[in-house]
Subunit: 353 residues, 2 copies
């Protein structure tokens, strides 16, 4: 697939320099076609019967396998959850943390991780988003390191293999800004949760949770999909592997659209996205202070000379879509494999104006 | 709106005697149009920017109000959750039950209640789905009565006002088979969770949770929508009222479709649904043993003379859609306001054949 062919799947790019996959990615025509085809079928044929349920269950496994393909892991280690927030909550509630336990995290995490982490009642050690600082914060009471792979704020990428190897601790990773954007190697990581509506360009919300060993986590909020069999007491035989953490029903239209979305990405996606992020920083560096370290991710966060919100609004007027990071005095551009030189020129022209 | 006009909204009824709203309701053309309109907009315009987020937030409040209208309560007591399973889990995890606490429930509950209840670790007293038996099971250690309003198996309706008044305990009610099917008066009930994809004919999954007093329940799995403000530690200021229990992001297409679906129901819906359920039982009683007590709900469960699965398959061949209740030797027909005399005759003809 050529760049032009691949990009042509995404109609929003015909008009806008859409640089906000870090919030929600551009949608492909085939994704929406899959969604609408199944909505029409539900409308005409109804949503029940043995065949309907079997088809829904088969589609769940297809989608599970597609997520496994993104993370290059076995599908038996993938749970279907609708968001990284749910993925984090599933692990954090299931670990049974108490006020005696400590969790090391950074000062750059999204509420989707921090909210559920705070709710566990564990002691939280918050440090700079830096491997040395994080490892130094580990104590004998530390039960978990919970952090992003790519920080949603600055776009810095953490060295997860080092955090794992040097701490020996379980790692819970928020992959909202990594999966689909950069190659991910889960290696020995225990828990890795991803969004699909961002870099994987799926309908919102959609996501998955990788769990290396399902036996290490209790199922605290089981769904019907968590079990193979249950007794009148609610006692249940958990499904094999990570499927026991499936969050709940996903409609056939949504499943079909996720499946279609995950099939739209060309083989060269990571190389090109990295190139475009590098090009973005090259164009912006003469104009503003770029906060993202080079070579880390597909986000390019920068500190404008004026008010970030005003700049985002002015760029929007020019058809350039980026976002502000409130309270941090940063504007963030998201560069995907679909990003063109022209998109970036439009951004630079707007920032320079 | 006449019966013919109202029924004409639901294309599946043109061909099928669709009697399975207890699983998923028939969809209206306007519901799918709203869904597709917003999918097309997302495709063409992208899914971000201040205006986009503001519109999404406003739609959430519209949908919250629409659910509040179904339950005739204040919208401040409604949380948006995607399923009754999530609604039950939200309350059960938030109550902080321990192994010292007891919960009274029935032997006729769905796994969506029983799974999360079992996962709390509380002692579960399981009794016959009968008000006397339930009240007799209450002990000084009982912290909660958790049950369905209408049992998904037999269609029996429980007297919630009596359970509340005579026990004085908090009640958690699974309203999957009641909301949209029969008039619901939450009265003094503490927690009441509803499905929207069943009797309210919304896309799947969709639902809500009524919480009378949000201060009585901890937010154990907060979403971004749970808070008005948060600190780097994850400590957060919970939203006023039940919105703090909102489960997470819902896409604009889905929100628009839920809103459209909740607007399709005629004023006379409850009267007509009750009439059609009575008519259904009248037609079936000469043929099979009807398990549902008269006047209780819009479900009509019956014990066929032969194998239930075979009967369901044979009815499907005739274009009559009902479901089996595995392990209970029951077949269940769901009668909505949209059900016609002809639908019921087709069912009776198939059962009698």
């Amino acid at each position: 697939m050529t760049f032009e062919e691949a990009r042509a799947q995404l109609p929003v790019l015909e008009r806008l320099a859409y640089l906000n996959a870090g919030t929600n990615g551009p949608l492909a025509r085939t994704t929406i076609e899959a969604f609408e085809r199944e909505l029409e079928r539900d409308l005409a044929d109804g949503r029940s019967g043995t065949g309907y349920i079997e088809r829904m269950l088969a589609l769940r496994e297809d989608v599970r396998s597609a997520f496994a393909g993104v993370l290059r892991v076995d599908p038996s280690r993938i749970a279907l959850v609708e968001s990284t927030t749910r993925g984090c909550a599933t692990v954090l509630t299931g670990l049974g943390l108490t006020a005696e336990d400590e969790v090391v995290t950074t000062d750059q995490e999204h509420f989707g991780l921090m909210g559920p982490l705070y709710a566990t009642g564990a002691r939280i050690a918050i440090v700079e988003a830096d491997e040395d600082a994080m490892l130094a914060a580990v104590t004998p009471r530390t039960k978990l390191i919970a952090t992003s792979h790519v920080l949603w704020t600055t776009g810095r990428r953490l060295d997860l293999a080092r955090l794992k190897a040097d701490s020996g601790l379980p790692l819970l990773i928020d992959g909202a800004q990594s999966a689909g954007a950069i190659p991910v190697d889960v290696g020995d990581i225990d828990f890795y949760t991803v969004s699909a509506q961002k870099w994987l360009c799926a309908p919102d919300p959609a996501g998955a949770l990788y769990v290396r060993d399902a036996e290490l986590v209790r199922v605290k909020t089981p769904s019907y999909f968590s079990q193979d069999a249950y007794e009148p007491t609610g006692a249940f035989t958990a499904k094999e592997g990570a499927a026991r953490f499936d969050a709940g029903w996903i409609g056939i239209p949504q499943l079909s659209a996720i499946q279609a979305a995950l099939a739209t990405h060309p083989e060269w996606r990571y190389e090109r996205a990295a190139q475009m992020a590098a090009r973005c920083r090259e164009l912006l560096e003469p104009l503003v202070e770029v906060a993202t370290p080079p070579g880390h991710s597909t986000l390019v966060s920068f500190r404008p000379s004026g008010d970030p919100a005003e700049l985002v609004a002015a760029l929007h007027e020019r058809g350039v879509i980026v976002r502000e990071l409130p309270g941090r005095n940063l504007v963030r551009a998201s560069c995907g494999w679909w990003t063109s030189e022209d998109d970036l020129q439009r951004l630079a022209d707007g920032v320079g104006a």
